[in-house]
C-alpha cells in the first residue's frame, strides 16, 4: 500500500495545491490562485475549528446505504409479540416462528440472517421508530427531507446533510472525500461548493486521449473565472450568472468544478481498483457490487469520509412478500459480505454503515397483498464501532396517526450522533440545531 501514500507525479490534490500555493509555488497546471482565496474567504471561520485533515489511512468512514422506495419496516423488524400486527396484516404478516428473534417482542425478517449474525456478534445497532414530525408520504419529498435533513415544512433547503458537512469540514480536501457509487449523485451530497465524486465503474471513469490532447484537456477542465474579481462576497453566490438563486453556483462554474474533480480523482480511483481485489466473495447483486467497490477503495486508502450506495425496489404496493424477501436477502448478504471484507482488511473499526429509507409502510396491508406509503420505520447501523443493541421504542401499533406509526426518534438524532461522535464534526453547525444524541456509536 506504500505506493499510494505519496501522490503520483502528475496528480496533485487540491489540499496539496492549497499548501503549495500558500508557499507561492503553484504549478501552472494546478488551480488558479483565486480558488485558494475563495476557499479561505468562504471558510475563514470554519477553517480554524472544523476543517478536518482527511487521509486514507485512519479516521472514521461512514457508508450510507439508501433503500429507495420506502421499506416496509414492520416486515423488516417484525413485532411478533403484538397481536395488532397480525390483525392488521392477515395476508402478508410474517409468522412469529419464522422471525429471527431479537427479543420477546421483535424479530428480524427471516432473510436477514447476515444482519442477525452481526447483531449476535455485537456489530449491529437497530434504531426503532425513526421518522420526523408531519411525515410526508410522497417518495420524492420524503426522500428530499431525509437527504437534506430539513423540517418537513421547509421547502427551501436543498443542500444535502452530507454536503453541508463537506462545506463545513472538508474544504480543501481531495474531491474523493465523498464518493457515491452509480451514475446519479445523491441529493445528500449537494453542497455550496461541489464536493465529492460519483462513479459507476472505475474502468470507464477516465478520459482517453493522446498526450498533447491530454494537456489541453486538463487546462480546459478546471475553473476559469475569478469569483472574487466579479465582486462576489464570501458566502454569496460564487460566479453566479443573472437568474441564479442567491447562494447558487452558475452552470458553467459548476461544470468546471466538477470537471476538475473528475480529473483529479479518476487516475487514482482507476489505479486502486486495478490493484486491489476483494478478498471475500461478494454475492451477485448490484448492491453487493457497489459495496465491493467501496471495499476496494477503502483497501486502497482513498481519502474518503463518506461513501454512498443505493438499493432500489422497495415500493411494494402489490404482491409484496416475494419482492421483499428478495430485497431483504440482497441487503443482508451484501452488508454481511462488506463487514467480512472490512474485518479482513483490518478496517472494520473505522467503518460504520447506515441504512435508511424515505419512509415505512402503513400498518394495515392494502387490497393487493402489498402496503402503501407510511411513516416511521427502523434503521440499521453496522460496523466495528457501533454500540450494539436496540435503540428507541417500537411505535405503538394501535395509537396511530392516520393509520401510520408515530415516530419516537427523529432521524436527525441519528445524523447528529453520527456527525458528532463518529465523524467528529460540529453537528450543530451542519444540521442547524441540536438533536438528542443517541449512544449508537
Amino acid at each position: 500500500m506504500d505506493h499510494f501514500e505519496k501522490p503520483t507525479d502528475t496528480l496533485h490534490t487540491r489540499r496539496q495545491f492549497l499548501r503549495t500555493s500558500m508557499l507561492g509555488a503553484a504549478a501552472a497546471w494546478t488551480l488558479p490562485l483565486f480558488l485558494e482565496k475563495t476557499f479561505l474567504a468562504m471558510d475563514a471561520e470554519a477553517a480554524d475549528s472544523a476543517t478536518q485533515t482527511i487521509n486514507g489511512k485512519d479516521g472514521p468512514i461512514l457508508v450510507v446505504l439508501q433503500m429507495a422506495g420506502g421499506n416496509d419496516g414492520l416486515n423488516t423488524l417484525v413485532p411478533h409479540g403484538d397481536d395488532a400486527y397480525y390483525r392488521a396484516r392477515r395476508r402478508i404478516a410474517i409468522a412469529a416462528a419464522d422471525t429471527l428473534k431479537i427479543d420477546g417482542y421483535v424479530g428480524l425478517h427471516p432473510a436477514l440472517t447476515g444482519l442477525k449474525g452481526l447483531y449476535d456478534d455485537g456489530h449491529l445497532s437497530i434504531v426503532q421508530g425513526v421518522g420526523y414530525p408531519n411525515p410526508n408520504r410522497s417518495h420524492f419529498r420524503s426522500t428530499e427531507i431525509w437527504q437534506t435533513a430539513a423540517d418537513a415544512e421547509n421547502l427551501k433547503l436543498t443542500d444535502g446533510w452530507l454536503g453541508r458537512y463537506f462545506d463545513a469540514c472538508c474544504q480543501g480536501a481531495d474531491p474523493t472525500v465523498g464518493v457515491s457509487i452509480g451514475s446519479a449523485r445523491p441529493q445528500a451530497f449537494n453542497s455550496l461548493v461541489p464536493t465529492g465524486v460519483s462513479l459507476a465503474n472505475p474502468e470507464q471513469y477516465r478520459w482517453v486521449a493522446e498526450d498533447e490532447a491530454d494537456e489541453a484537456f486538463r487546462a480546459l477542465n478546471r475553473p476559469s473565472q475569478d469569483p472574487l474579481a466579479t465582486g462576489v462576497n464570501a458566502g454569496d453566490s460564487i460566479g453566479a450568472i443573472p437568474g441564479d438563486a442567491p447562494g447558487e453556483m452558475g452552470a458553467l462554474d459548476f461544470l468546471e468544478r466538477t470537471a476538475l474533480d473528475a480529473q483529479l480523482s479518476s487516475d487514482r480511483i482507476l489505479q486502486i481498483s486495478r490493484k486491489f481485489k476483494s478478498a471475500v466473495s461478494y454475492p451477485k447483486s448490484q448492491l453487493a457490487n457497489s459495496l465491493s467497490l467501496v471495499g476496494r477503495m477503502i483497501a486502497g486508502g482513498l481519502a474518503t469520509r463518506v461513501y454512498y450506495v443505493n438499493q432500489g425496489g422497495y415500493d411494494t404496493h402489490s404482491g409484496q412478500a416475494p419482492a421483499h424477501q428478495r430485497l431483504m436477502t440482497e441487503l443482508s448478504e451484501a452488508v454481511a459480505a462488506f463487514c467480512q471484507d472490512m474485518k479482513g482488511q483490518g478496517n472494520f473499526e473505522r467503518v460504520t454503515l447506515l441504512t435508511f429509507s424515505e419512509f415505512g409502510r402503513r400498518v394495515a396491508e392494502n387490497g393487493s397483498d402489498g402496503t402503501d406509503h407510511g411513516a416511521a420505520a427502523p434503521l440499521f447501523l453496522a460496523g466495528g464501532g457501533v454500540q450494539p443493541g436496540l435503540f428507541g421504542k417500537y411505535p405503538s401499533l394501535t395509537e396511530l396517526n392516520n393509520g401510520d406509526l408515530i415516530h419516537n426518534v427523529d432521524f436527525r438524532s441519528v445524523y447528529f450522533s453520527l456527525l458528532q461522535n463518529w465523524l467528529k464534526a460540529p453537528a450543530e453547525i451542519v444540521l442547524g440545531r441540536r438533536f438528542p444524541i443517541l449512544p449508537i456509536v
Binding site: S180, R185, Y205, A209, L220, I241, L252, A259, A262, G367
Partner: protein, 484 residues
C-alpha cells in the same frame, strides 16, 4: 417583463439560441435560414413545422394485444410450454421496447420527425413521467406517447384529462387496481403534486376525495384501451377545495384548472425547460395569467416564451446544461451524422441519466445540474470520442462486441469532415479552429477556449482528418460544450 424581442435585436446568435432551445440545434445552414426569417417569423415557422409533424404513425411491431385471449391461451399450455412461451413473450417485449425508444429518438434526430415537435413531446413525457419499468408493455407506452404528441400544442385541460384515462398511466399510478371500497390515492396525489398544482396547494383530504372520482377508470384487456367501469364507482358526493358535488374525474381536473396556481405551475415549468433555471416570479405570473385567460392553450404560451425579450436575455443565453437527449441530438445534428445503433445509444442515455420511456420516477428528470456529476461528465467526454471515431474507455456502452466497433468505424466515415473542416482552411489552424468552434458552440467563447483550440490545431504537423477528429473530441470534452 414579457415584451417581445425587437426585430432589430435579432442576431444569428439568437437564432442559434432559439434553434437550440426550441429543438435540438442544427448545422450552420439551418441557423442561417432561421436567422434570415426575422424573430417573429422564425418562431412561427418552428411551431408550424412542429404542428404539422406532431402526429405519427405507430412504429412497426407495436400493436394492441388481446390480453384476455393471451391469458387463456397461456392457461391451456402445459407448465413447461407455458414457461417457454412466457420467456418468448418477455423477449419480444424487451425487443419492442428498444425499437419503440429508437423510433422516438430517430424522430427527434429529425429525419422522420420534427425536432421541435419531439422536444415538446419529451417535455410532456418528463412532466407526466411514466416508466416502462412498471408499465411493462411497449404498446401502452407508445399509446401514451401518442396521446402526449396529439395534445402537445393543444390545451392543457384536454391533455390532462386524456392522461388521466391513459392506460399506461392507469397502470403506472395504480388507478387500474383502485377499487371503490378502497380507492388508491397514488394518481390523485401525483395529479395535484406533480402534474398540476405543486405541493402546498391542496390538502390530504382533497387527495382522498379526488381518488374516489377515478376508481371507474380501467383498461379493457381485449383492446388495451380505456374503459369506464361503472360498478367501481364510489357512491356519494365528494368535497374538493371546499366544494361538494358528484364530481367526475374530468370535473376534478376542471376544478384544478380553476386554481391560478395550476397556470403558474405549468408556465414556470415550461419556462425552466426552454429558457432558464430561475424565472423571475413576476414573469411567471405574467405568463400564467395569459395562459389561464387563453383557456390553457399551450401553443400561444410557447409563442409568448419564444418571442419574449427575456428568452434572449443574458439570464437565459448559454445558461442551460444540456440534457443527455439534447446532448446526443445536438451532436448528431450539428455534425450531420446519424445516431449510434439502438443498443449503444440506449445504454449511453441510461448511463447519462435520461433514457426515454424510463424516467427515474413520476417526478420525471430533475434536470439542470442534476445531469452532471463526475461520472456523467466523463461519460459525455467518452461519448464524444466515440462519435468522432476515436478511442474510448472499455465496457458498456461502447463495447457491445464487434458490432459496436464496426458501427463506430461507419459513424466515423459518415462524418462530413470536408464540410466541417474545409480544405482551404486547413492551412490556417486558427481559422480552422474558429470555424469548427462556431459549428459546435454557436456562440463566442472565452479566450481560454479559443486560444487552447487554436494552439492545439497549430501544434499538429498537418491538419489531416485525424487532427480534425481530435480537435472535435477536445472541443466536446469541455465544460463549455455541456452548455447551451
Amino acid at each position: 417583463m414579457l415584451s417581445p424581442l425587437a426585430e432589430a435585436d435579432w442576431t444569428r446568435e439568437k437564432a442559434a439560441h432559439l434553434l437550440n432551445r426550441a429543438g435540438f440545434s442544427g448545422p450552420p445552414e439551418e441557423i442561417d435560414a432561421l436567422h434570415s426569417l426575422g424573430a417573429k417569423n422564425a418562431v412561427k415557422q418552428l411551431l408550424d413545422g412542429a404542428a404539422a409533424k406532431l402526429e405519427a404513425p405507430a412504429p412497426k411491431g407495436i400493436e394492441a394485444r388481446d390480453m384476455l385471449a393471451l391469458r387463456q391461451s397461456m392457461r391451456s399450455l402445459e407448465e413447461e410450454a407455458r414457461r417457454e412461451r412466457k420467456k418468448e413473450l418477455q423477449q419480444q417485449e424487451r425487443q419492442s421496447a428498444r425499437d419503440l425508444c429508437e423510433w422516438w429518438l430517430l424522430r427527434m434526430r429529425g429525419k422522420t420527425g420534427d425536432p421541435v415537435a419531439e422536444k415538446l413531446t419529451l417535455f410532456w413525457h418528463g412532466h407526466f413521467a411514466t416508466s416502462i419499468v412498471k408499465v411493462r408493455q411497449p404498446f401502452l407506452m407508445w399509446q401514451q406517447n401518442d396521446t402526449l404528441r396529439r395534445n402537445a400544442l393543444g390545451d392543457f385541460g384536454t391533455l390532462t384529462k386524456a392522461v388521466a384515462r391513459d392506460p399506461a398511466m392507469l397502470v403506472w399510478l395504480d388507478t387500474a387496481r383502485s377499487r371503490a371500497q378502497k380507492p388508491n390515492e397514488n394518481f390523485a396525489r401525483e395529479l395535484m403534486e406533480l402534474f398540476t398544482l405543486g405541493e402546498g396547494h391542496y390538502t390530504e383530504d382533497d387527495i382522498r376525495a379526488a381518488a374516489r372520482t377515478f376508481t371507474t377508470y380501467k383498461i379493457d384487456p381485449r383492446t388495451q384501451t380505456f374503459r369506464f367501469e361503472r360498478r367501481q364507482a364510489s357512491p356519494g358526493p365528494v368535497s374538493i377545495f371546499g366544494r361538494t358535488g358528484d364530481f367526475s374525474g374530468d370535473d376534478v381536473v376542471d376544478l384544478i384548472l380553476e386554481k391560478p396556481e395550476c397556470a403558474a405551475f405549468i408556465a414556470r415549468k415550461l419556462w425552466v425547460f426552454y429558457a432558464s433555471g430561475q424565472p423571475d416570479e413576476k414573469l411567471v405570473q405574467e405568463l400564467a395569467s395569459g395562459f389561464r385567460e387563453s383557456g390553457y392553450r399551450i401553443r400561444p404560451l410557447l409563442e409568448t416564451i419564444f418571442n419574449s425579450a427575456a428568452f434572449y436575455s443574458p439570464a437565459a443565453l448559454s445558461t442551460q446544461i444540456k440534457s443527455p437527449v439534447q446532448w446526443v441530438m445536438t451532436l448528431a445534428r450539428t455534425l450531420e451524422v446519424g445516431l449510434p445503433p439502438g443498443r449503444i445509444l440506449l445504454g449511453a442515455l441510461d448511463a447519462l441519466g435520461q433514457e426515454p420511456f424510463r424516467p427515474p420516477s413520476v417526478k420525471g428528470w430533475d434536470g439542470g445540474k442534476a445531469w452532471i456529476n463526475t461520472a456523467t461528465l466523463l461519460l459525455r467526454y467518452n461519448m464524444a470520442a466515440f462519435a468522432v471515431g476515436n478511442e474510448t474507455t472499455g465496457g458498456r456502452p461502447f463495447q457491445g462486441g464487434r458490432g459496436a466497433r464496426r458501427f463506430q468505424e461507419q459513424l466515423a466515415r459518415q462524418l462530413p469532415l470536408d464540410k466541417i473542416a474545409p480544405p482551404e482552411l486547413r492551412q490556417v489552424p486558427e481559422k480552422l479552429a474558429a470555424r469548427m468552434a462556431d459549428r459546435l458552440f454557436q456562440r463566442p467563447l472565452k479566450e481560454r477556449e479559443t486560444t487552447a483550440f487554436a494552439r492545439f490545431a497549430a501544434a499538429r504537423d498537418v491538419l489531416d482528418d485525424q487532427a480534425v477528429r481530435d480537435l472535435l473530441q477536445l472541443m466536446m470534452s469541455t465544460p463549455q460544450y455541456q452548455i447551451t
